[in-house]
Every structure is written in structure tokens, then in C-alpha cells.
């Protein structure tokens, strides 16, 4: 079995999984924070837009979102994220669009995680912020969000773990990450349990430390009340 794996770039595939995870996680955190702010903003249309985004994206299968990104945005609307004339434009475009798609999808969950964090902030904090004359954005920046982030570490960790696993869906638009490589191996060679176990183990190794880290962080950083 090891000689089979030797023929394939298993580590390279997992490296792609890690890259997809890291970049989409950053994107999802940024978009998700903006969405969360929108959902508590004083302007009604922003609140509605935020809610609409979350409800739509959260209920669409990720497969479809990524196909829309690749087929719809890249090929039909022809929005290139790299030089379309370069000799690796298809591969690069697909990786970048996969990152955008994964970020857009998980942003909806980041938003909900942050809202659950906002819910851990006592009412008095917001009232105190207002009573000393802070504006909406000031009280959000200085008082609410710092506490909300600390209160939402645990659910944010769960989103990160889910994101790591969901990068496998990028194989559907042809990104060469771990699950796609495993599919190739078991189709060309043999569907042995060993091959599956090695890839599964790879994901356990990627996700387990994240889980442990975020659990301990959430204990350490939680606001004592």
C-alpha cells in the first residue's frame, strides 16, 4: 500500500487542503464579522440584507455554491481572479474561486457564531456604553465586539473544523485537494481500507488539534462574570 501512495503526491494534496482552509477561514472571518455588524446595525435595510444573506447561503448546498462560483462567475460572467492568459489560469482561478466560495459559505456560520457571542454580552454593557455617549460603531468596537469574540471562540472553532472538512467539496470543481486525490487512488488502484484510513487520519490530524486549541482558548478567554 505504501508503494501505491508513493506514486501520488499525498502531502501535496493535504498542503492544498491546508491552504484552502487558511485562506477561506480568513475570508470567512472578515465577511462574517461584517455580516454580524450588519445584523445588529441601526439601518433597517442592512439588517435585512444581512439576514437575507445568511438565510440564503446557509440553506444552499455547498456543492451548488462552488459550481456557481466556477461555472457561473468564472465562466459565464467571466470574472477572472488571475491573468486569464497565464499558462496555469484554470488551476489558479479554480483555487481562488473555491476559496471565495468557501469563505462566502462559511461567513454565514461565522456571522451566527458571532451573534451567539453577542448574546453572551450582558445588556448592561451596551447600556453603559451608550450612557457614556459612545456611538453605535464606538460601542461596537470598544465594548461589544471584543467581548463577543471572546464569547464565541467555541462556535468559531466548530466553524473552522467544519470548514477544514468542507474543503473536500472543492474537488467537485476540479481543485486537487486530498479527497480528490483519494478518489483517484481508489479508482485507479484499489479501494483498500488502508488508503481510506490514511486520508481519514490526515483529516483527524488537521481537525483534532484545532478542536482542542479552541476549547482551551474558549475557557481561557471567556469573560469572567
Amino acid at each position: 500500500m505504501l508503494d501505491i501512495l508513493d506514486k501520488y503526491d499525498v502531502l501535496g494534496a493535504f498542503w492544498m487542503t491546508i491552504k484552502l482552509t487558511v485562506f477561506s477561514a480568513i475570508g470567512a472571518l472578515v465577511i462574517g464579522t461584517i455580516l454580524a455588524v450588519m445584523r445588529v446595525a441601526p439601518v433597517a435595510i442592512l439588517r435585512r440584507l444581512g439576514a437575507f444573506y445568511v438565510n440564503t447561503v446557509r440553506n444552499t448546498p455547498l456543492t451548488l455554491i462552488l459550481v456557481f462560483c466556477s461555472l457561473g462567475l468564472l465562466y459565464i460572467l467571466q470574472i477572472n481572479l488571475t491573468d486569464p492568459n497565464s499558462s496555469t489560469s484554470i488551476v489558479d482561478n479554480n483555487i481562488r474561486w473555491a476559496i471565495v466560495g468557501l469563505a462566502a459559505y462559511h461567513a454565514a456560520f461565522v456571522c451566527e457564531a458571532l451573534r451567539s457571542g453577542v448574546n453572551t454580552v450582558p445588556l448592561g454593557q451596551a447600556e453603559a456604553a451608550r450612557s457614556i455617549g459612545l456611538t453605535f460603531s464606538q460601542s461596537l468596537r470598544e465594548v461589544i465586539l471584543p467581548q463577543a469574540f471572546r464569547g464565541s471562540i467555541a462556535p468559531l472553532g466548530s466553524v473552522l473544523i467544519a470548514l477544514t472538512k468542507n474543503t473536500t467539496v472543492a474537488s467537485i470543481i476540479g481543485v486537487a485537494e486530498a479527497s480528490g486525490l483519494m478518489k483517484e487512488i481508489i479508482e485507479n488502484e484499489t479501494a483498500s481500507f488502508g488508503v481510506f484510513f490514511i486520508f481519514a487520519l490526515g483529516f483527524v490530524i488537521l481537525t483534532l488539534p484545532v478542536g482542542i486549541l479552541f476549547t482551551s482558548l474558549s475557557r481561557r478567554l471567556a469573560v469572567k462574570r
Binding site: L71, I76, S87, I90, V91, I173, G174
Partner: protein, 278 residues
């Protein structure tokens, strides 16, 4: 407390199972009456021009060939049950007897002959390229350097081109029909697989006049009828049927009907002479 809590869960489970069971009935055996032999024939459901299920109708070259063979075997159209035969499952379907024959752009290869027997070939196809109708820059595989190619994940035809012409970029989708809009907008420059399938797409009314097949096949695929391994009697009957179909003009008519709208002309080696059964 116990009965109430767990009972509710059990009830929900039973309900869900009933729901699930509802969906599984009445599939498959909708074959009409007719007194002749019943036949289960495996075809593609998703290849325009070759084997396509559109609504409740089955159309395509493979379908016409299968119908002709069935008639020669003494089965009327009502006796045929069409079974979907995806590429990866064709051998299994035959070996386990879930179909009597497979007529599904099924190339005769030595590897497959170890598992099933073939009658035919009834058609000689070749790997080719589908391009935009107004594209003059691609005239064959040699002019593909620096071009973008679209194909289906795990298909061997795309990998062949990529191995031979490393300057080609490859976009992989789940189905050829996803490639078509990308080809139309210029996101990719060509689509590659058997010329018959390409002609089938180009002949679809929705894409009329938009695409053309280059017409420089660079491989040879002999389509055969897959049957249970070693069934020489059946093989002989099918071979005779194919010969008759070619000689009485039905073969040409089937091509004209299904692939003609794309301006497709069968390549070299057509019509083929079916091999003797062994």
C-alpha cells in the same frame, strides 16, 4: 416518562421509515405488454445524440441500434426496459444479470473482454474536439497548445490529450453539459471526447449552429454491444442484426436522424464489419 419520551422518538423513526419506503416502490418494471421476449437494455441516459432520456422519451443512435436489435430478437418496443448504464457500472450490470445487453458508447477493449463479451462493432468512433462554430484556430490536437480544454472528471480522453500535449490546460466538471456554457462564452476553447458524443451535443436544438466538431479523430473507439461473457448464441444473433441494420439502410438513417443536424459524417472505418463471435 420513559414510555412517553422514547415512544415519541420511535414514532418519529417509524414515520421517517414509512416516508422513505414510499419512494422506493414502482421503479423499473414499467415494460409494456407485448407477447415477445422481455429485454432489459442498458443505455446512457445523459448523452444527447447517443442515449438520452428527455422527458419520458429515449432517443439517440444507441437507442435506435438497441431497438433494431431487439426487433430482430423478437421483442417489440414495448418489451424493452431501458436501464441507465453509467460508464463505471456497465460491466457490473451485465455480470449480475441486471441487464441483458449494454448499448452505451461501449468501446471494445481487451480489459473489458475479460469480464464481458462483445458483439459488433456497430460503429467506429474516435476521440475528437468540439469547438465554437466561428473558431478557426483549432484544426486538430496539434493546434491545442496553450488552449483550454474542458472535460469530465476522471475521463480518460482528457487525460490522454493532457499527457500528449502538456501545453494544454484542463478544466474538469461533473458533466459535459457544464462544459458547454463555458465553451460558448470562450472560457474554454474546446471539449474533448468521442466524436459521436460531441456531435450529439452540437446537434441539440438548444445549441444549433453554435458548435462544430473538428473532424480530425485521433483515436479509434469500436462501439460494441456488451453481453454476458461467453454467450455465443446471443452474440451471433446480435451480430446478424447489426449486419442487417447496416445493409438495409437503417444504420445510415439512424446516424442521419441523431447526429446529422450537427453536420456529422461518420469517420473512417464506417460502416464497420462486425467481428465473428468466439
Amino acid at each position: 416518562m420513559k414510555s412517553r419520551g422514547l415512544g415519541a422518538v420511535a414514532a418519529a423513526a417509524a414515520l421517517a421509515l414509512t416516508l422513505a419506503a414510499c419512494g422506493s416502490s414502482s421503479s423499473g418494471d414499467s415494460a409494456g405488454s407485448g407477447g415477445g421476449t422481455k429485454l432489459k437494455i442498458g443505455i446512457k441516459f445523459d448523452q444527447p445524440g447517443m442515449g438520452l432520456k428527455k422527458g419520458s422519451e429515449y432517443t439517440g443512435m444507441d437507442v435506435d441500434v438497441a431497438k433494431y436489435i431487439a426487433k430482430q430478437l423478437g421483442a417489440s418496443e414495448g418489451d424493452i426496459t431501458w436501464v441507465q448504464a453509467p460508464s463505471a457500472q456497465r460491466e457490473t450490470l451485465i455480470q449480475t444479470g441486471q441487464v441483458d445487453m449494454v448499448v452505451a458508447t461501449y468501446s471494445i477493449t481487451d480489459a473489458r473482454k475479460e469480464k464481458v463479451s462483445f458483439a459488433g462493432p456497430y460503429f467506429v468512433a474516435g476521440q475528437d474536439l468540439l469547438i465554437r462554430a466561428d473558431d478557426t484556430s483549432i484544426t486538430g490536437p496539434d493546434s491545442l497548445d496553450g488552449k483550454k480544454l474542458c472535460s469530465v472528471k476522471g475521463s480518460t480522453s482528457a487525460q490522454k490529450v493532457k499527457d500528449k500535449y502538456p501545453g494544454v490546460q484542463l478544466q474538469e466538471f461533473g458533466t459535459y453539459s457544464e462544459c458547454l456554457p463555458a465553451l460558448a462564452t470562450g472560457g474554454v476553447d474546446a471539449l474533448t471526447t468521442d466524436d459521436t458524443i460531441l456531435a450529439g451535443y452540437a446537434a441539440q436544438p438548444e445549441f444549433k449552429g453554435k458548435f462544430k466538431v473538428v473532424g480530425q479523430p485521433f483515436s479509434q473507439e469500436n462501439y460494441g454491444v456488451g453481453i454476458k461473457k461467453g454467450d455465443t448464441a446471443q452474440c451471433t444473433k446480435i451480430t446478424d442484426a447489426i449486419k442487417k441494420m447496416i445493409s438495409d439502410g437503417s444504420w445510415q438513417k439512424a446516424i442521419d436522424n441523431n447526429l446529422g443536424p450537427a453536420g456529422y459524417k461518420p469517420g473512417q472505418g464506417n460502416p464497420p464489419t462486425p467481428a465473428a463471435c468466439s
